[in-house]
Symmetry: D2
Subunit: 299 residues, 4 copies
């Protein structure tokens, strides 16, 4: 397919690279320039305006937040203004359900197609085309895009015809992950203070009853108190918890663990942790239990 | 090996059966009689006193709580009084670290050997010899027992030479599981109230980013609000959270999610849920969000 | 003084009446008409536009929320457009610190004076001129307004020269009150389930160690489960907790009790409690402890 | 009356002094000797055994916890063994409801009388006979003791005929106080980080809407981060929250704020705060918001 791709952060660059390797024709654009050299080497065409990436069958956006996603779509020189009738906007960013609904309506009014397809996976999974992709929207449009998803992910599942549903599922999934991080943090604080080797503990659990990549990844980071460099920065994780809580507020759903997570992130930021990986909230239980004197000691 | 086995609940019966199938010679005892017929059919010898199961190389205990485990070991006619010097007590119950330490000392004084070997897994996993077994204690003793563990579980991992460490790991693991149940409950409340099909949601998550048997099992129970019959009864789950919190108190480790779980169980019991599966705490978030009017409707 | 007054809800009407009784000349306006008859009987002049109440020395606004306060000040026909140079806007509404800062800047640009003067007290305290008034802003301007505050309140205290500070103090005070309501609710649930008479308990506490009008008022409502009619409606209380949490987010201050209160209000609203007094969150602990079967029974 | 008094800590010594000043004949005993000099100067008779203080109409006990109270009553040389038939044990300690019930039964079996009369107030209030006393038990017995209560407190209220009820009310009251401390701590963290003077803030609130001695006392300690010396040590406050939670567990009453308080105390102890006043938990919110770098700076 002939594609545009906007958003060349670590996730987006890896995804675009996989599309190129799968033989798609991709024009790339990033609002901050200087990110496309590696993609150009793989055959990408570097665009200097959003209009230039709107000349194919579809445009994929992979942006950091609602502000960036709004700007790329709704600005005067954005996707809405330049996508041809019937062309597809595949929104893979993690954004609010409100914005997703708004984009769906705006594209529909413009005669364009819009599907949401947010992803689960850290940059290494994006690089190895192992993402999990959650889609929602018009089934025929999703079907058209399956070759693209196949190039980027290990599995794609649809959750219905309303695009916002995919965004809500993505937000709820990041909430579940953050909840697991917090719980791992508390468990590691407990066994660690008892004198059990923290890494051996995580190895035991994640080779048996919690044999799941994310538990391995985050458990290991927490056991070793290694929260730098950030593969998924804490402010991004916080953004997702906030969006989940915003949806919960609209729907009137009390979520006490999500509230706790919100407070954990605020504390992390108050104490200088803005640049850490989001799993750093999993270090706070140990800090509470030890005054933080020993929590940075690798085990 | 020539073994004794005490504690023929659903877990213990299945474990004893697997030992018999593996060719071990097993005398069985249960304080409440009438549980051994199926095991006798498999070749077990039914004992009428604890003394009778103490005549082999080792005794395995698989009991409900500290009270039962104390009684079986420490009573006048218990294991401590009857185990020969050098015989092994393999304690597979989920008990407090205090009791585990106490038993370790008592057996040592009596010249007997003691290891802790609590298990992860529900009755179906016990039946299919798929338990995960966490051991701690004298390495040579653990080595002697490996054939037994192999007959009952899919994997056995040791966490050191202090028996209590295995008990703490087990308690922390159940805490992690209960935390996952609570988080799943909140996530299902959120997406369910948004109108997304709850079972499709769980199927999506647990076939992708949360592809783990326990997430599948509990997610499904929560999505369908099916908390009966109980495979692991809520009071047993509560007991484990209490023991984890007791250890946390002794060690001075604040565990806010564990505290929340404690309150969830208390509420469940206040509202008549003593006979439900422990995953029923995962239904409370939906109850909060809907007044409970619709939360029992299968989706 | 010659005054305008906008916002004739239960609080505002009572405050305007006290200004009239103190001899001030008051023009009154309400966006929803039909609220001024009683005030006209006391000598008020009924205005049909905001412009008409801007012809004196000062205008007092007492509005429900940020939306209403914004509209009244910033709309084309609002206070900002019509207040003379040097005239004073006394904002007594409970609004966000962001809006308060915005209004301060806008009035300053227009050469008008602005002070914040939010109040503590329920409608009966407004009626008896027993409000507590928290002011912030230019000291000279506050001094000019003291006779007005004296007519409406029992005590007025200033918290500095930045108007937003008074708004933050007011929000934090409502947070403290809601926290006390939640704690009273938990305590009443505990002693009530133990069989102690709930009203006798509250009478005991509030005639001794918690001898404070708000503890008496809310303790009594909780003991008797009497949350209707609402003197301060739950959505207004929720609004204030949200604004406090919004300020806490901006400032990076984790407030776990405020987070709990947020979830309590969401649950109340999910279960049909939008029309109740905000103290109804104090009934949820009893509901948790009893399945709500008995919690409406007066004691 | 002719009295015995056991427990000469800061509270007990002040209470015994007031009994002496009121003209009562008092024999005093303390398990740790050397505390009675000042009382002897006021006319007390120093006893060297518990038996010696059991020779009058009543014995008052004012002890630190269940362990001490059990020992004093139930030990071989304790009150139960030595009190004459019909003599009264007035238990003024803050103890568990289980122990209170147990003592009630034991004294009844021995033909002795027992009432519970725990107190609210810090040592300065004990010294000035300003305690609030909560009583429960046989009304006639309470009536006999009224002159004693009058000598020690400013007000005495009865909460029924079951002694344990007074103990539960006392525990719930300390819970309410600790909840207020936590809420004040969060509010001070918020306004303090916003740049508002913390002490001015507390002065404002506690001279208006929270005009209550305990809010003044604790608010001021929190505003100034002055948690030493301890008037009521943190481990004693923790003990009371634990006893309240234990009662809540028995009665199946979820108390989320009490759970939060438990975690706050555990954190305080983990970080070296065992010797601080219990209001030090009110400093943790500021620590969360500032990394503790500035929280000890008086304002």
């Amino acid at each position: 397919m002939k594609l545009g791709f906007v958003g060349l952060g670590r996730m987006g660059s890896a995804m675009a690279a996989n599309l190129l390797k799968a033989g798609h024709e991709v024009s790339v654009f990033n609002r901050t320039p200087g990110r496309s050299a590696a993609l150009v080497a793989l055959g990408a065409r570097e665009a200097s305006t959003l209009a230039e990436i709107c000349r194919g069958d579809a445009v994929i956006s992979m942006l950091a937040d609602d502000t960036a996603a709004s700007a790329v779509v709704l600005a005067d020189d954005g996707l809405l203004a330049h996508l041809p009738v019937n062309a597809i906007h595949i929104s893979m960013s993690t954004i609010s359900i409100e914005l997703s609904e708004h984009l769906a309506q705006a594209h529909a009014l413009a005669g364009q197609r819009y599907i949401a397809a947010p992803v689960f996976g850290r940059p290494d999974m994006a690089a190895s085309a192992k993402l999990f992709i959650v889609t929602a929207g018009d089934p025929a449009t999703i079907a058209v895009c399956q070759p693209l998803f196949k190039a980027m992910g290990q599995k794609t599942v649809s959750i219905g015809t309303q695009p916002w549903a995919a965004n809500l599922v993505k937000l709820s999934g990041n909430f579940l992950m953050a909840a697991a991080i917090e719980a791992l943090g508390e468990a590691v604080a407990l066994v660690g203070k008892a004198g059990i080797d923290r890494s051996a503990y995580i190895e035991l659990l994640t080779s048996t009853v919690f044999n799941l990549p994310s538990y391995k990844t985050y458990g290991d980071l927490i056991a070793r108190s290694r929260f730098e460099p950030a593969a998924f920065a804490a402010p991004l994780g916080y953004k997702d918890i906030r969006l989940a809580l915003a949806a919960a507020e609209t729907l009137r759903v009390p979520m006490p663990v999500a509230s706790l997570l919100r407070d954990r992130f605020l504390r992390l930021f108050a104490q200088g942790g803005e640049s850490l990986d989001w799993s750093a909230i999993g270090g706070l239980a140990t800090k509470d239990a030890t005054d933080g004197l020993n929590d940075a000691t690798p085990h």
